[in-house]
Symmetry: C2
Subunit: 370 residues, 2 copies
């Protein structure tokens, strides 16, 4: 088969160090599993600002459009806090999502047996947890117009004299396509989708609910569908997260709820994500893979970071971009093996102890387990 | 002193039964603490729809504007699911909030010692939890214009042909006044405020952050202020909720985050709320008090509901509307006493057992403890 093309954007903070471990894994699959990757590198976020004067250069954007999959580390850091809104590291990431039209953001929240005690939740509430949040990623209040901060001088009631505006806007088509992703994924898992919005207070939530129901009734009647208000969803995630299989929700609710779900597992350093768009000419979807954790500037460059989330993001790439489900499972098993052996980066070191390792040791252990 | 005027709106589902217990408490304070209340009753939500054809009659609205405090039970139920958006039970509640201009919604999340094991979180994470979420309640995406669902026929990319729109809109003045409420409350508690928004993706979030900071720097420099992105806020609430004292956030984030925070305590049937506006001519703020839980139609009319959240909402009325902090504390102590004695409605009945009681028994026990 033709080589798989990758663009690696390590980004800021711990991004480069965790990505270095992914590179080892890529090499292993090339050497041992007959895969062939062509890999290019570039910058995003603060690193891109430092080099190009903006958080994503047009050349980088063009490259991202051409590869099979983008692997991203993390963006952001205190150094860039005072930059103008349009130059902030996050804008680079948001531009990639929008221009690649990566509408389906897959965020698994999985509790690893060896790490269940890390959760702030009781073991019996989270053990075996395996839910998948499908978050709409290219629309909603993140991108809606009009937006901005304006003077509101003629309003005598407005002490301070400004007004801040964002627009939540969804089309039927935008809702339907992400709903289809959720139903497709559910079919390969527990066959259950729960859709979350605030249809009791927002018209865009009513449209969301109706369109998800439409896709269900017309295309996936065999999948079990329920609807839940997003505030109740937040409650239920805390109360009994295992009631869920696939959750589908909009960009903003997805941002908040997927982070709550991620924290249920107690080990943020373990969680990958995939952002998928429409199929390209070669049949592969536009795709970007990134760990859920941030750039963690406080520990950057010290070899303390946990590379597993980034490595598992690459496993998602194997599965969703290259249809290499077996290879993905192999990599996931290697990670579980290493954890079961008690190998621990600093963030995973609990009272029960374990073998403390650095970022790069962890990568080596995973390679060894493969 | 002049009598305190109350408007009681029991609403739907378990609303009437829990409110009946509050009435006992009101009577007790009249008889034993020399307070005098004038109480009127009316309908809201589905009950109002059944009686008046809309979820809040204009006469009821007018009454609510004139009393010192509105006590509300709960609204909603499956019977009303198919009503038009503008007739749904929730619209009654939202109209009260908006027309009374109740901009500061106080949602304490407190973990009662006797109930700490009810939480899905580990005891050592939630024991002693006492945080207060101050949610902006009269603006943001709940009320912003334009809003609605429209045809989008000229858009060939929009399969389905509709678009749903809501507007997130905040003025500086709206942000400053709720920030002041949060700082004032913090001064009487742990002296710490954490403000949450998504200033990294929303301009309205930038304005939010700047105005909260402005109020801090100019009026409350002695209170400790921090800012956090709302997604991280959801994580931190799950990871280590006791890091917070007062949280101030907008209407929509407040809806989701306060429900997550409520569920941390594990006993939703315990949590009250207050919604406060500007001072009236008599110096008392416009005010509405309601339990955080919903109308629970599945158990309505069976004597199973826990009246404590509604009773503690009345305690908040004593404190915030009538400046009767001692009486409020007396009532709160009576509730704690009854819990410590092992008296339990069905929702509070855990493995360690206790004395099972009905809704009205629980009310009687609290009266006895007073
Ligand atoms: C970095 C930020 C712009 C981003 C978001 O809000 O989407 C992040 O929180 C995420 O969830 O990927
Ligand atoms: C009933 C509903 C309209 C309401 C809201 O969304 O504000 C409720 O969830 C709440 O938090 O009080």
């Amino acid at each position: 088969t033709a080589p798989y093309s990758l663009l690696i954007l390590p980004g800021d903070g711990i991004g480069p160090e965790v990505m270095a471990e992914v590179t080892k894994v890529i090499d292993w699959f090339q050497t041992n599993r007959g895969m062939s990757f062509t890999v290019s590198h570039d910058d995003v976020g603060g690193a891109a600002y430092d080099r190009y004067g903006k958080p994503l250069a047009d050349e980088t954007m063009a490259k991202a459009q051409q590869v099979d999959a983008v692997l991203l580390g993390a963006v952001g850091g205190p150094k860039y806090d005072d930059l103008d809104f349009s130059l902030k590291p996050e804008r680079g990431l948001l531009r990639l999502r929008k221009e690649m039209d990566l509408f389906a953001n897959l965020r698994p929240a999985q509790c690893f047996d060896a790490l269940a005690d890390f959760s702030s939740l009781k073991r019996d509430v989270v053990a075996g947890l395996d839910i998948l949040i499908v978050r709409e990623l290219t629309s909603g209040v993140y991108f809606g117009e009009p937006r901005g901060i304006h003077a509101d001088d003629n309003n005598p009631d407005n002490e301070g004299g400004r007004v801040g505006i964002n627009t939540q806007r969804y089309t039927s088509g935008e809702i339907r396509r992400v709903a289809r992703s959720a139903f497709e994924l559910a079919k390969r898992r527990g066959n259950k989708v729960c859709s979350m919005e605030k249809a009791n207070v927002m018209e865009s939530g009513i449209l969301w609910r109706e369109e998800v129901q439409w896709v269900h009734d017309n295309e996936y009647p065999e999948v079990e569908l329920s609807h839940m208000y997003a505030d109740n969803g937040a409650m239920q995630l805390v109360r009994n997260p295992r009631q869920f299989d696939v959750i589908v929700t909009d960009n903003l609710f997805g941002d908040v709820l997927s982070d709550a779900a991620a924290m249920l597992t107690g080990s943020l350093g373990m969680l990958p994500s995939a952002s998928l768009g429409a199929p390209m000419a070669n049949g592969r979807p536009k795709a970007l893979y990134e760990p859920v954790h941030g750039s963690a500037p406080d520990i950057a460059g010290q070899g303390k970071a946990n590379p597993i989330a980034c490595i598992l993001s690459f496993a998602m790439a194997l599965r969703y971009s290259f249809d290499q489900g077996d290879a993905a499972a192999e990599l996931e098993r290697a990670v579980e093996q290493v954890l079961a052996d008690g190998v621990r980066t600093a963030d995973l070191m609990g009272p029960e102890g374990g073998t403390p390792v650095s970022t790069s040791d962890m990568g080596d252990r995973i390679i060894a387990a493969l």
